[in-house]
Symmetry: C3
């Protein structure tokens, strides 16, 4: 009997999964199996006064294997994502809204100075550089570097955030962890986050909470009351707080800001961490019938070289198609921002490991080297893809600049057992590059493709 009990408890240990998994379980499961992929949705939400954060399960096998984790912040109007840092590099995509943010770097000057106010009510203040962000921006926050973000627009700010825990900047833990430098970020613990130790760890509390009062009073040269505040007592609750009357900070006007950096040598204090990838005129691939694709890599934003990440913004027109292709040197995590698409992903066994319609709010991981095809639905398809290499490279399988174009006709004809003419047709029929217009009628397409053969 005892042994049967043991067996049962042993099996239940194995079946233990999801949000309740303990950290140790997580670390010991190192196998990486991309054999059955799913579109992933957030599993938990933490509400706060000024917004909410939705968490994808960091213990999902796909994410663990790729060394990434995801969450999505919603920051309401006049609300602030309070200052914090993480143990890993963060790549942030601004899905909606606008606002300003700051990164607080150790040893960098407090160059933003408030005007001397006449009333005498407010003291002269200085703080580190503050910059604007808006829809379509990608931002990079380095591991251990404090940052805050504020919504000064008229609608919600929505941010999709990737943690890259495999970056060597993270020596701490494969689970992403947030460190808050002040406040009471977990607040009254709204939402279901309490049942999930992993997310609790993920989220954090004020890092001053644990220190002895006498040490805090000495360090800040303040009284005990303030030490309590620093430890999170009697302060605003939650990790996103609302500022009643617009946040008052010193910052230059929006239009001048971008120019300021020109002519200055880039130091770690002035390093650019933000770029917009929504502009259609920066597209790398543009096909009026099919869509456009914008790559973001370290050539555009040098800090990507340090953090070894890149990104991509894609737009497919109604029923248009992208692929098949594979990414040589990176995992891609695709987040739809509009419309929907059917995605198929195939592994090296030729087996379909993913075949779903992907919609806004879902994530899908496309493993390195796996072949993928994307076919937009009736409303088209838009996405941002986060990539785990600073210079992620796509290899198209069909169309112009594809691997089939790079192969000699005689190899195609010999392997596929077709005539050289047929092989030539296969190689040259599709003259578009990676993004393909929807087919109107097969005959027509063939004719067009054959004409294009002469122009190659």
């Amino acid at each position: 009997m005892a042994s049967r009990l043991f067996l049962i408890s042993f099996i239940s240990l194995i079946l233990l999964h999801g949000c309740t998994a303990r950290r140790n379980d997580l670390q010991q499961q190192q196998e990486c199996n991309f054999d059955s992929m799913r579109a992933l949705q957030p599993i938990s939400t933490i509400e706060a006064e000024g917004g909410k954060t939705e968490f994808w399960n960091p213990d999902t096998q796909q994410f663990r294997c790729a060394g990434v984790a995801f969450l999505k912040h919603t920051i309401r109007r006049k609300s602030l994502l309070v200052p914090s840092y993480a143990n890993s590099v963060l790549m942030v995509y601004v899905e909606e809204g606008k606002g300003f943010y700051s990164v607080v770097l150790p040893g960098c000057p407090e160059t933003f100075q408030s005007p001397q106010e006449q009333s005498g009510e407010r003291m002269r203040d200085r703080n580190q550089k503050i910059e604007n962000f808006k829809k379509g921006d990608i931002l990079i926050f380095q591991a251990g570097v404090t940052h805050w973000m504020y919504n000064n627009g008229d609608q919600d700010v929505k941010l999709v955030v990737m943690f890259d825990t495999t970056n060597r900047a993270n020596q701490l833990d494969s689970i992403p962890q947030r460190f808050y430098v002040l406040g009471n970020p977990q607040g009254r613990q709204q939402g279901q986050q309490q049942q999930c130790p992993l997310l609790q760890q993920f989220q954090g509390e004020s890092i001053l909470k644990g220190f002895a009062d006498e040490m805090l009073t000495a360090a800040f040269k303040m009284n005990k009351e303030m030490a309590s505040k620093l430890k999170g007592q009697g302060v605003k609750e939650g990790h996103i707080i609302t500022i009643e009357k617009e946040l008052q900070v010193t910052r230059p006007e929006q239009q001048q800001q971008q120019q300021q950096d020109n002519g200055l040598e880039e130091t770690s204090c002035s390093q650019n961490i933000r770029i917009n990838i929504d502009k259609i005129d920066q597209a790398d691939i543009f096909n009026p019938q099919a869509g456009h694709l914008t790559s973001l890599n370290s050539h555009h934003l040098p800090i990507l070289n340090d953090v070894r990440l890149s990104a991509e913004r894609g737009h497919l027109k109604m029923n248009a198609m992208m692929g098949p292709f594979w990414v040589l040197n990176a995992h891609s995590i695709m987040y739809p921002t509009d419309g929907e698409a059917r995605i198929q992903i195939v592994n090296n066994q030729g087996r379909l490991v993913f075949d779903e319609r992907l919609q806004k709010g879902q994530l899908v991981l496309i493993p390195q080297n796996f072949a993928v095809m994307i076919q937009a639905g009736n409303r088209g398809f838009q996405w941002v893809a986060f990539k785990t290499n600073d210079n992620a490279m796509i290899t198209p399988i069909a169309g112009r600049a594809s691997v089939y174009r790079g192969l000699p006709v005689s190899i195609l004809s010999n392997i596929l057992q077709i005539s050289e003419q047929e092989a030539s047709k296969l190689k040259y029929s599709n003259a578009e590059t990676i993004m393909f217009a929807p087919q109107t009628s097969q005959g027509k397409t063939f004719t067009r493709a054959f004409q294009s053969l002469l122009e190659v």
Copy 2:
């Protein structure tokens, strides 16, 4: 009773090894024990029409610990290793034969153009750069990059291939995986490969096999019949196929090819991935009585810097000796190409962990920092060594340029409790560098060594 059964199944789980191991087992065994090394031979063969591939067990502890895997291709005359890519960097040594190959890089131009044929039978074709290879070449294929190889010589082509799965270019899996861009590479599954899931994964099938027909027809703008072909139906079977009448591809004559690159800046499209290490005039160590040694590192072939690998070609004369020595910063995987040798490897406990005669077709891993000696047999000994660092460095223990030469005589005499004269003899007796001629008679050697002392 139940508990006894449980114990038995528990033990059998532990004993489970070799070809039948599941992937998950593999990943969880992370201990790296180099305490008992063996010479390793291929455990499985996949036959194909145009040749065969022999696999070393990728689950061997030595290989797992070093992060490498090995296989050996035999490509028969007029046969083609069909286009594929791998999730890791490949280092290929051409053991025998000659032929041509191509790597198909995304975005690189199809610069090789076929002449306009008069007959009109063949269409004008373009493909990416094709280059020759021959016996003694080392080739580097980057992770995710498609390549094919063709034997246009009069004998079998034999290739020894190392997969480096620890390279950061591989984010996918610690098991090497092959991805085929077309064909039916597993064919009718000859050989014993079916019983070995690990090797099945290693080997792969057409990556187009899993896609929906309608998506393939749309992407290639071809009909359903061709989609079936692309998925591997009704095509040539096997990963090495025979081309009945010589493969017809566009390529310049052999003698002109090498010069073409001169004067052009090296881009990723024109980066050199091949070098010959069989030429005796490039030897770094040359001793007419003992043998010669040629190192290949990133100074000779810059791509080695990116992939963090290097290689070595060694020739020892009959009964000559190399070592003792250790490699500072790399594992060395030694593959004999001719003759035989007795190899001894010693760990930091002073314990002999390997003492075998090594012959062609076997592999032995020499762990980083372990001391090793090689003594050639009566037929001499030739080998190629694959090294897991782009600038692998050898430290000889005896002879010129050795660690004993670098130590003061008084340290040798004090530790070994010998006179300074004896210590000096120990330090200077052997005036050869790492490769030592066979001793004819001890007295004679001593005399010669002492004379050399004056010339130091």
Copy 3:
């Protein structure tokens, strides 16, 4: 019954820890939990004729997670730490004493030549460069590179040594291993080291011990008697030996040595591996009331860039304080050299994970990103910290150049629910930088702090 036995043995397997843990256990425990930290002391000592080595347990979770291991050598007068190399980079801090050392690099010239002696008793000798070391020096020994150290001073030499096993120079094992090129380093096995297989592996024996006699005689061109010596028979026992009459080696006078390198291009043969961090005039932070802090990074010693390590030397005056702060990108392992201090470390949950008085001879690991405060005791506090990044960066939380200084007053006031005036006080009260003088009386400090506000 059987099942109960099984359960018990299963549990005992889980409980197995400390010195008796087998290597395989070690490797499989990959979870990294910094939830309860302890000050760590050496657990084992190996005595030798010329000194002793004390070992911290390499299987301690803190060390395993940070990828480091520690030991401390005591080398007595006229004693020699015999030539050896390790499978990982070593960072050595000279806590006490002085002497000379050499690294023996393969292929580097034996440039140090003994004068021709008239007596004819000693032979002309050459060896590789020998340099001096003294109290306060940091030395870097690369993985696989042989080095020895000799005490020629009047007191014991004490060395604290960190092994960085995560450096990519180590491909061998996560357990540090020492390789001895000659001698009988384990001697008669004094001390308790026998009971500890991990330390035995750590420590090593002569790497020539395992080779066949006939191979050694051939390689060194010496007789069988000498082969026995090389294998460790009839030689001085122990890894630190005493040289009866001062070690006789060829080396230039101390005062000239440092200048010799000037004007020469730095090659791997002449690369500087040593720097002193005890000089107060090189301090980066200096506060006459609080103490001083000297950082050592790759700007001072370029080899640190290769090995990805840095260090810090700190002095706090009686009752002075450092922090709160966190290190952005590195673990810090703190070794007190004098005095004592109370250290508090807080994790991202705001939980105190360490709160102890730290004294000389103990080590504490401060995990990356964790918040820490140090308050010196009545005798002040001095330490050296080893850091696992070549450019470890500290973020102060309080005082000048702190994260609170970088935040706008309105953010502090809104989160902490205090007036802007109070927030301004909080931000500017402490005008010192990271190291804070002991508070004499709170009122006084506040006054001083407020005056400093005007000078900001």
